[in-house]
């Protein structure tokens, strides 16, 4: 159930269902609106394992590739 954030394409609207990151990263993600249950849009994904840009209510956040693989989401 659910796939890694990195496996979605530009423009996909997805719902975050799990974040397997450490406490610090988790708090930072949540503070930027990337909490579990929130629906976000994949903004821009570089093709070479670069950061993924996720937009949420008009805020764009770049998430490093490694961290993005720890965010599990499903199509909303």
């Amino acid at each position: 159930m659910g796939k890694r954030l990195t496996s979605y394409k530009d423009g996909d609207k997805i719902k975050i269902i799990r974040i397997d990151a450490g406490h610090g990263a988790l708090v930072n993600l949540i503070n930027l609106g990337l909490n579990i249950g929130n629906i976000v849009e994949i903004g821009r994904k570089s093709n070479m394992k670069g950061p993924v840009i996720v937009s949420y209510q008009g805020t764009e956040v770049a998430i490093g590739y490694g961290l993005a693989t720890k965010i599990i989401a499903e199509i909303a």
Partner: protein
């Protein structure tokens, strides 16, 4: 009375601060750059009021060093403090999450709906009266960049502070409220001092905030903790998540609910030109083309301006120095002292105005427009290959201007390991002083291509060193989480404030050391210690590096002032025609050595300040080691190719 400006990063908080306070703070598009708070005073109703600008923080529940400093300041604010909460109205829902947390503190507060023009553009219409009723505090629409609404904002802040008007309390779900009630009862029974209000402390218990737990531990008995832990477990049962995340979810929903209540989105967000800009600037291929072009253009401009201005300043100081020699010919000791002093001042002016000033202006421009965050995005991938992430690029770029502000900028990095590695790499980046050696020596006596090659070698060595260091200190980097701000036209005021702020770091930290260094140099010469130093160092300089023994003293002095190495080399060799006494291989290996070896004393001081003396020593040792290896390699490889 004291006003504290609180807001999330990029909300325009520092711009408002600058508007009222003048030249003291920095507006920033890059989260966490204003790490220390800045204080200023204003006059309202014939009263002197302190205004404090603290680092932007997304929430009061944080793990970030800069944000933690902000949270601490708010929590320990004096009795008569008024919170001025500045929101980016164009991302209202997210901004309200911090507002909700601030309301829980039950201190007088006002809310600024800043960047209201941006919200208008996005078609977001906000009913500020309605929002004010919900929050229980005045809400004022402001546009910091144009100075609109700011007078009214501060007036209202004064009013709520005088009348001690507290914001409303917004209740949460029933199970959480029941928890509050029962803990409140315990607190009242135990007469716990109201350092913060009881409700706030209870909330922090749910958020598992360490400082509150420690504070309450003096009063709570084992039985009380058992009760609290049981209740927390009860709350965590239903959504099966840790209570701290339940609280942030609740707050998130509340904020969204308030947003829907007070704001209308009149048209769907239209993509404007700025979104299209990112299709170019963040394009997987074109993005890098632009990045390289923009950086190239930036450096080209700086070098051109610097190259024109530098001789103008240096010539005048040379004249002054000669004048001194005539005036104080009778008192040689005093003369040496004065000459060193003048050279130190002159060297500072010779670097600051020609190179640092344009460099910092350009950098602030890149930062305030929002481009620097894009650079971090573009470069993140590359930095991961050396075990760091995109944010590390900022100190490194700054390092091309002056290493000292570069080192100080490592503050924006969260993990101590990332900070250490980035600081070590920044130290090895050729600063503008080393640039004068590279171009003045290699560029002039060998070729410009050979000089540029040093920069390329430098980047390769930076990469290898980073790679090795991160291998030696294995640790999963927390990874990049960076808000990509909207593009903004930078405000002139903020731009100059920021430039001045960075320049100040050079003026206060690096310059005094530069002057002291110059004085020591002159005195050493005066006391005729040069020859003994040279012969003491000759096993190293001649034996290992294969350089003429006379350069020994220039290397020692180079630690005091890197840019002096060139001038000193001329005087040590007793000629400006370096090729008559040194081979091109020797020139090249000397330059490589000077580029990499021990950082200047100002940098060492900055390293000790940001990290500690032990780490500063480690970095100095490491760079020395790398410099020796490279210089020896050049000594033997260079002749093969020429």
């Amino acid at each position: 009375m004291e006003f504290i400006l609180v807001g999330q990063p990029n909300c325009g908080k520092s711009t408002i601060f600058n508007e009222v306070a003048g030249y003291k703070s920095v507006a920033s598009n890059f989260p966490g750059i204003t790490v220390k708070y800045t204080k200023s005073h204003i006059e309202l109703e014939n009263q002197k009021i302190s205004v404090i600008d603290i680092p932007g923080t997304y929430s009061l529940q944080t793990s970030d060093e800069a944000e933690l400093a902000a949270t601490k300041y708010i929590l320990n604010a004096p009795e008569d403090a008024v919170i001025i909460n500045i929101l980016d109205a164009s991302v209202l829902s997210r901004s309200l999450e911090l507002t909700l947390q601030l309301m829980e503190l039950q201190k007088p507060m006002v809310v600024a709906l800043n960047m209201i023009d941006e919200a208008d553009r996005k078609g977001i219409k906000i009913n500020s009266e309605k929002l004010s009723k919900i929050i229980g505090a005045p809400v004022i629409k402001t546009n910091g960049r144009k100075g609109k609404g700011i007078y009214q904002l501060f007036n209202q802040a004064y009013f709520v502070g005088k009348e001690k008007i507290k914001p409303s309390i917004i209740k949460g779900p029933a199970n959480v409220e029941n928890f509050f009630k029962s803990v409140l009862k315990i607190m009242k029974e135990k007469r716990i001092p109201e350092r913060w209000n009881y409700r706030f402390m209870t909330l922090k218990l749910l958020e598992k905030d360490d400082s509150i737990v420690i504070f309450l531990d003096d009063y709570f008995k084992k039985k009380d903790w058992e009760f609290i832990n049981k209740s927390v477990k009860e709350i965590e049962k239903i959504p099966q998540r840790n209570s701290e995340f339940i609280i942030s979810s609740i707050r998130h929903n509340m904020a969204f609910h308030i947003f829907e209540n007070v704001a209308k989105v009149e048209r769907s967000i239209k993509k404007d030109v700025r979104d299209k800009l990112d299709n170019l600037f963040m394009h997987p291929f074109l993005g890098y083309v632009f990045l390289i072009s923009i950086l190239y253009l930036t450096f080209w401009m700086i070098f051109t301006i610097g190259g024109i201005c530098e001789p103008l300043f240096l010539n005048n100081f040379e004249k002054l120095s000669k004048l001194l020699s005539i005036k104080f010919a009778d008192t040689p000791f005093l003369l040496s002292f004065l000459r060193g002093f003048v050279q130190g001042i002159g060297g500072g002016i010779g670097i600051v105005i020609p190179f640092l000033l344009p460099f910092f202006i350009m950098l602030s421009l890149l930062e305030d427009t929002g481009y620097l965050a894009r650079v971090a995005y573009l470069i993140d991938n590359l930095m991961h290959k050396i075990g760091l992430h995109g944010m590390s690029v900022v100190p490194i770029i700054l390092g091309y201007g002056c290493t000292v502000p570069g080192i100080l900028a490592t503050r924006i990095l969260k993990s101590p390991r990332d900070k250490f590695i980035t600081a070590a790499l920044t130290t090895m980046v050729p600063c503008s002083a080393r640039m004068t050696i590279i171009f003045g020596l290699v560029g002039f006596f060998i070729s410009i291509k050979a000089a540029i090659l040093i920069y390329i070698i430098n980047i390769i060595i930076l990469g290898l060193t980073g790679k090795l260091m991160s291998k030696a200190m294995p640790q999963v980097s927390p990874g990049l989480i960076l808000e990509i701000p909207k593009y903004h036209l930078p405000g002139i005021k903020a731009l100059f404030n920021k430039t001045w702020f960075r320049l100040k770091e050079f003026v206060y930290i690096a310059w005094p050391l530069l002057i002291i260094g110059s004085i020591i140099l002159e005195l050493i010469e005066h006391l005729n210690l040069t020859n003994s130093i040279n012969s003491f160092l000759s096993p190293f300089t001649s034996g290992i590096l294969g350089l003429p023994a006379v350069v020994g003293v220039t290397l020692i002095f180079g630690i005091m002032r890197k840019e002096l190495a060139l001038i000193l080399l001329f005087s040590a060799l007793k000629t400006k025609e370096v090729l008559t006494v040194m081979t091109p291989a020797q020139i090249y290996s000397f330059t490589i050595f000077v580029t990499f070896y021990i950082p200047c004393i100002a940098t060492i001081a900055a390293l000790a300040r940001e990290l500690n003396w032990k780490k500063a020593g480690l970095i100095a040792g490491l760079t020395f080691f790398i410099a020796v290896i490279l210089a020896v390699l050049v000594r033997f490889i260079f002749p093969i190719f020429t």
